[in-house]
C-alpha cells in the first residue's frame, strides 16, 4: 500500500500506565508498513495499556514514541491511525445507524464547518463493503449482534483511510460464525497490504495473516519475533513454567473458505493489493 519503509510506529524504552503507575515498561517496538503484528499476552499483562499509550489515551510515562516519524506529542495527522477499541457493545443511549457510527471515522478529513461530501459517503460505503455489512448500513447498531458491532468498529476505522489499523481484541467474545467472518475480513485487509497491530488473546483468527508476534507478560515484552519462533518460545516457556500459556500453535490452522458471493463480484473494491 505504501512504498515507504519508514517505520509506522517506533517505541524506544517506552513505559505506559495510569496516573503515575507504570503497567508496561521498557518496551521497544517497530512497526513497518505492511506488518501484521499480533500483541499477545495473558489478561492484565498490559497489552491494552501499551496500545492506549501509543495512541495517547493512557499515560505515556517514559521513553520515546514516534508515529510516522513524528514524536507522539507533536503528532497531528490523526487520520493516519485507525483505532478499533475493545467494546462489548456500542453505546445504546440513543438511536444510531451503522452508517452514522461509521461516518464518524471520516471526521478528521474535514474542517468542523464542512458537511460530509460525496467522497465521505462513498468511503463509508466502501468500509461497510469491506467488512460485509453494506446490506445493514441503515440498520440500528443496537440491533446487531456482538460480532457485527465489532465489524462496525473496524469499518469506522477503515472509513478514515488510515495507514495503520490498531485493534484491541477484535475477536474477543464473538460467536463462532462471526469469528469466521472477522477472520475473513482481517485476511482481506492483510491481502490489501494494510499495516495492522492487533491485540488479542485468540491467535487462531489471525494465524494465517500475522507475520510477527509480540508477547507481553507481566508488563514487559517477553517475545518479539516470527510466528514459528514464537511456537518454539512457547514450548520452552511451558517447560520452564508450571502455568502454561493457552496458545498452542501446532493445532490445525483454521481453514477459511473464501468463495465470493454474487453481489461482491461487481462491487468489491481494491482487491489485489499486496
Amino acid at each position: 500500500m505504501q512504498l515507504s519503509t519508514d517505520p509506522v510506529i517506533t517505541v524506544r524504552d517506552g513505559s505506559f500506565g495510569y496516573g503515575d503507575r507504570a503497567v508496561v515498561t521498557h518496551v521497544d517496538l517497530d512497526l513497518h508498513p505492511g506488518d501484521v503484528v499480533a500483541v499477545l499476552g495473558p489478561n492484565g499483562s498490559g497489552k491494552t495499556t501499551l496500545v492506549k499509550g501509543l495512541l495517547g489515551l493512557d499515560a505515556h510515562l517514559g521513553g520515546d514514541v514516534e508515529l510516522f516519524g513524528v514524536p507522539r506529542r507533536q503528532f497531528r495527522d490523526h487520520a493516519r491511525i485507525g483505532y478499533v477499541p475493545q467494546r462489548h457493545s456500542l453505546s445504546a443511549s440513543v438511536r444510531a445507524t451503522v452508517s452514522e457510527i461509521v461516518a464518524v471515522g471520516r471526521l478528521p478529513h474535514r474542517p468542523w464547518w464542512r458537511r460530509a461530501s460525496a467522497r465521505d459517503h462513498q468511503a463509508v460505503r466502501d468500509a461497510l463493503q469491506t467488512v460485509g455489512l453494506l446490506d445493514r448500513a441503515d440498520a440500528e447498531v443496537a440491533t446487531l449482534s456482538g460480532g457485527q458491532q465489532r465489524r462496525v468498529l473496524i469499518a469506522r476505522a477503515l472509513a478514515g483511510d488510515a495507514d495503520v489499523l490498531v485493534m484491541d481484541e477484535p475477536t474477543a467474545g464473538v460467536d463462532a460464525a462471526n469469528q469466521e467472518v472477522l477472520a475473513t475480513v482481517l485476511e482481506s485487509l492483510a491481502a490489501q497490504g494494510r499495516t495492522m497491530l492487533v491485540v488479542t488473546h485468540e491467535l487462531e483468527a489471525l494465524e494465517l495473516i500475522v507475520n510477527r508476534i509480540v508477547c507481553i507478560r507481566a508488563g514487559i515484552v517477553d517475545f518479539d519475533g516470527s510466528p514459528q519462533a514464537y511456537a518454539a518460545h512457547e514450548v520452552a516457556h511451558a517447560r520452564d513454567h508450571v502455568h502454561h500459556h493457552p496458545h498452542v500453535l501446532d493445532e490445525e490452522p483454521t481453514t477459511i473458505v473464501d468463495d465470493a458471493g454474487p453481489l461482491d463480484a461487481h462491487e468489491h473494491r481494491g482487491a489485489g493489493h499486496g
Binding site: H78, I81, Y83, V104, G132, E180, L263
Partner: protein, 338 residues
C-alpha cells in the same frame, strides 16, 4: 383562534414558543446521549440565582442569568473532567446553592413580589417583552446553528469519547460547547417553560424522538417537531384554559410521548405477527459467505438451503421465494420497507 394572533403578548408568546421548541430538543438529544438528562434541571436552579442578582442590582435579569448559568455550566463540565468521587456532591452543592440563593435574593429585592418568583419558576408567557423576544431569537438561532453544524462531532464525542480523542477531535472543547449551549437554552426557555420545568422540554421531545426515529438524524428531527408542536400547543392551551404555560407545555409533551409509546407497541405487535424468523441460525450471511445473494425489493436475501434469509435485527427472517406473476400473496411474509 383568530383573536389569539391579534394580541401582541400572544404573538410574542407564540414566537418564543417556536424558538424554544426548536432549540431545546436540539441540545437535549446530546444530553440524553451522554446520559445527563437531569443536568438542565440543575442549570435551571443556577439560573434562578442569576435572575435574582439581576433583579437586586437593577440589571437585566436575562443577562445576569445567562452569565451565571454559562459560568455554572463550564464549572459542571470541569468538575466532571476532574472525575473526583465527590463530583456528584459538588454538583448538588452548586444546584441547591443556586436555588436557595435565588429565593433569598429575590425576597430582598424591592422590585419583586412572590408572583415574580413564580413567573420565573413556572414560566409566564404574558410578561415576555419585545426586547426579550429579540434576545431569545438571537440565542435560539445561535443554539440551532451550532447544534446543526457540529451535530456529527457532538454525536461522535458523546458516542465514544475515547475514539473521538484518537481521531483528534477536541473532546473537552466540544463538551464545553455543549455545556454552554445547554446554559443558553435554559435561559432562553425560562420565561416560557419556567426554570423548574426547563429540562423537560429538552428531554421529553427526545424521548418521543427515540420512539419514532430509526436513526440519530431522524430521531432528532422528530424531537424538534414534537418540541415545536408541544410548546406552541401548550401556549395556546394555556391561553384558553388559563393555566401556566410551562406546565401545560410539559403535560402536552408527556401526552405525545405516551401516545408514541402506545402506538409503537401496537405497531411492533402487528409487525411480529407478520414476520417469521428463520430457525436457529449459526451462520453469518454476508458478501462472500458462500450463499447466493438475491436482491429482494429494498434489501438483499441470501438463498440458504432453499430458504430466503434476510437480516433483521439480531436474527434472520424467512422471506418468501420470489413468486410468479399473478400470485397475489407475494410479499405476504416480507416486512414492510423502511
Amino acid at each position: 383562534m383568530g383573536e389569539l394572533f391579534g394580541l401582541e403578548f400572544m404573538q410574542h408568546a407564540l414566537i418564543a414558543a417556536v424558538l424554544v421548541g426548536l432549540a431545546a430538543p436540539s441540545v437535549g438529544v446530546f444530553l440524553v446521549q451522554r446520559r445527563m438528562s437531569l443536568i438542565g434541571d440543575g442549570m435551571g436552579h443556577v439560573a434562578l440565582a442569576g435572575v435574582a442578582i439581576g433583579l437586586l442590582t437593577g440589571q437585566e435579569p436575562v443577562l445576569t442569568a445567562l452569565l451565571l448559568t454559562v459560568a455554572g455550566a463550564v464549572a459542571i463540565e470541569l468538575i466532571r473532567i476532574a472525575g473526583r468521587a465527590s463530583a456528584d456532591i459538588a454538583l448538588a452543592v452548586m444546584f441547591y446553592g443556586g436555588m436557595a440563593l435565588g429565593v433569598v435574593l429575590i425576597s430582598k429585592s424591592s422590585a419583586s413580589s412572590p408572583a415574580n418568583l413564580t413567573a420565573y419558576l413556572f414560566g409566564s408567557i404574558l410578561t415576555t417583552s419585545r426586547t426579550d423576544i429579540v434576545v431569545f431569537a438571537v440565542l435560539a438561532v445561535i443554539v440551532l446553528a451550532v447544534t446543526t453544524v457540529l451535530r456529527q462531532r457532538l454525536f461522535a464525542v458523546a458516542n465514544d469519547p475515547e475514539y473521538a480523542r484518537t481521531i483528534g477531535l477536541p473532546v473537552t472543547a466540544l463538551n464545553l460547547v455543549l455545556a454552554v449551549l445547554t446554559a443558553v437554552t435554559v435561559v432562553t426557555a425560562m420565561r416560557v417553560v419556567g426554570l423548574l420545568l426547563i429540562s423537560a422540554l429538552m428531554i421529553l421531545p427526545n424521548a418521543t424522538g427515540q420512539v419514532l426515529g430509526r436513526s440519530f438524524r431522524s430521531a432528532v428531527r422528530w424531537a424538534v417537531l414534537v418540541g415545536v408542536v408541544c410548546s406552541v400547543g401548550g401556549v395556546v392551551g394555556s391561553y384558553y384554559a388559563s393555566t401556566p404555560s410551562g406546565g401545560t407545555i410539559v403535560l402536552a409533551a408527556i401526552v405525545v410521548y405516551l401516545a408514541a409509546v402506545v402506538g409503537g407497541a401496537i405497531r411492533a405487535r402487528v409487525g411480529a405477527r407478520r414476520h417469521r424468523a428463520a430457525e436457529s441460525h449459526e451462520h453469518e450471511h454476508g458478501p462472500g459467505c458462500g450463499h447466493p445473494a438475491v436482491r429482494h425489493g429494498n434489501h438483499v436475501d441470501y438463498l440458504h438451503d432453499g430458504h430466503l434469509h434476510a437480516a433483521h435485527e439480531g436474527h434472520y427472517d424467512e422471506h418468501r421465494p420470489p413468486v410468479e406473476a399473478g400470485d397475489d400473496r407475494s410479499d405476504a411474509l416480507t416486512r414492510e420497507p423502511r
